[in-house]
């Protein structure tokens, strides 16, 4: 297994260290991974306004582990991660471990350098990620908040992916694509990237703000409550081979009344239980299609659609492209 451990608040040092570790050279701030480890690249964007960003777009050919050690100085990383995990993935924030198997993980969250953070994944994991390194002074100037720590500390203190995750929806996805697949011939590329990255940051913090305004009621949730809700969400995104579990059953799992369960679930995940389930289900189907091992009929059947045309309609509604086109354009 390839394992890389670091403790940097400077992505340039990180890039150089990684290159040394892999025994490859850095070209245009980019590392092309050696074939035995992964197919793809790791790129640094070092923008003149003080933002540093890592772009990662690769598929691993071996098991891997990335571990950021906690540091005493506080800074934040805003992570936009799209993982497709045919094997398993362990995410651990401050020793709070979570393991996922055969899933797709498309989420956005903020981590603090005060906590240990690591990813451990199996061979075949594909990663598209944009990680933005944010210093507290920068973000408080940028947002115009006197003391940004109040907002962020509360947020980051919820180490678990509970209140803080945002899902990669269509708008985030197209914003990420504009950055990851920028035409190298594009004129004015620094300004172009700066604008796109700032829009990502703006959207994240604005959403976070709106959520935190609405979230007062959930702050009363205990960590145990949040964890149970996460388990429910996890179980909802694990198995699509039959009908989804009934609300009563899910409520029982979360040890809440059905009404309370529905309300809490929605405030944490931003959508009703079944619409969450449906999104995960289609996300799963998308992964099957992208894996190349499924045709449209098979993917539909794998997520329990008896009628393929219903599947196609639902898929289009979610991704604005038909399953057939997705395969074709892969």
């Amino acid at each position: 297994m390839f394992s890389f451990e670091f403790r940097f608040d400077d992505y340039r040092l990180l890039l150089n260290e990684l290159a040394q570790r892999l025994n490859v050279t850095v070209n245009n701030d980019t590392i092309i991974f050696p074939e035995h480890l992964a197919k793809g690249y790791f790129r640094l964007l070092d923008l003149p306004n003080g933002l540093q960003v890592n772009l990662i777009n690769c598929t691993f050919n071996s098991d891997w582990c990335m571990h950021r050690r906690a540091s005493a100085e506080q800074f934040y990383t805003l992570r936009f991660d799209e993982f497709s995990v045919p094997g398993s993935l362990i995410v651990s924030i401050d020793h709070d471990k979570q393991k996922e198997t055969a899933s797709a993980r498309s989420i956005i969250y903020l981590t603090s350098s005060l906590f240990d953070f690591y990813y451990q994944g199996t061979k075949g994991t594909s990663v598209r990620a944009i990680n933005i390194l944010i210093k507290p002074e920068w973000i408080s100037n940028y947002l115009g908040l006197e003391n940004v720590d109040d907002l962020l500390t509360n947020y980051v203190a919820l180490k678990a992916e509970s209140l803080n995750i945002q899902t990669v929806d269509r708008e985030y996805q197209s914003m990420m694509n504009e950055i990851l697949y920028k035409d190298p011939e594009h004129s004015f590329s620094n300004l172009y990237l700066l604008n796109r990255l700032q829009l990502l940051i703006e959207r994240f913090f604005t959403n976070l703000y709106h959520r935190s305004q609405k979230a007062n009621l959930n702050l009363r949730l205990s960590n145990a409550d949040i964890n149970r809700l996460m388990q429910v969400a996890h179980s909802l995104s694990e198995n699509f081979s039959g009908k989804p579990p009934a609300i009563t059953q899910l409520a029982r799992m979360s040890a809440m009344s059905p009404t309370k369960f529905k309300m809490n679930f929605k405030s944490i995940y931003g959508q009703p239980v079944y619409s969450f389930y449906q999104e995960q289900r289609l996300q799963k189907a998308r992964e099957y299609l992208l894996s190349g091992n499924y045709n449209v009929n098979e993917a539909a059947a794998a997520v329990a659609y008896d009628n393929t045309s219903n599947f196609i309609t639902a898929f289009k509604k979610q991704f604005h492209t038909s399953p057939g086109e997705l395969i074709k354009n892969k």
Partner: protein, 325 residues
Amino acid sequence: MVEFIFSHTDSKEFLKAMAMLLKTEVKDDTLLFPGNFATGFIKAFKLINGLQGTILEGTLKQDFFFQRKKDGHNFYILHFDQMQLPSGLITMINDVEIEHAANVRSAVLLTSSLFNFSYFLPTGSQTKSITIYIDEEWLIKYLGIDSTHRLLKDYLLLKSARLNFEPLDAEYRYLLNEIFEETEHPFKNLVLENRIPMLVELFFTRIHDKLNSLDKVVSISSDEMQRLMAAEARLVDDATRTAPSIKELSRLAVMSESKFKLLFKKVYGNSPYEYFQRNRMTKGGYLLKTKRYTVKEVGEMLGYSNLSNFTIAFKKEFGMLPSEV
């Protein structure tokens, strides 16, 4: 008449000098015009990325004459103006006079501190303007071009209004509105930090494309250009009404209907009706994003009596339903 002659390259210094002239004070980087000069305000900003500039919104109670004296630095000023004037406007770039007969001007203009630049605004002028100061170091860092770059040279050497003045279209207007219409944004600095560099990107991308296809540009006189701007302003001034007729617009532009339609499409890239509709939908998208109105309310604000027509039109424009915003 107020005569203001300056050569500042620092927006806050500019504001201080202006406050001295108008015998008033700057507070929170903002100067509220004393009532005898104008209503409204002018505000200076400096962004983290190094861009600075001013935002002006007001109606003048006196004639104003502004002149930026040339100096030896390579320094650029990008002007975004939405003006309504009781009479024509005279702009002078390095002693070359560019006169605007029309009483509406919505345009973008880049000037260099190597040239004198002045303009005269008569009493009663209403203006919403954003001025962005860009120094050479910034150009190199963010755009990868310096003052010797062909793009800047070619652009600055163009001495005709039809090429210098880039018309403000729906895309510019959308960004400008976000700056001017003070919606309740939780993070007050962020709108400027993000929208100002987007305006700069949009402008440079446009002139880059325009200069690359210069030979393909239709022949249109600067006078025609201004009359088109007047018609365009009418077209977008109220998204809640049905679109003005081509007849009305072509009369405003003082040209035949077929010529109007042809020139409008060349300059703004869409037919007048498409342009109207796009502007209307952009506004709808913007209102929905504020999360303060329901889909139904937004539909009504845009003058749709039938909500499903709005939904269909919106989907056509953005590829998603209003409820998905």
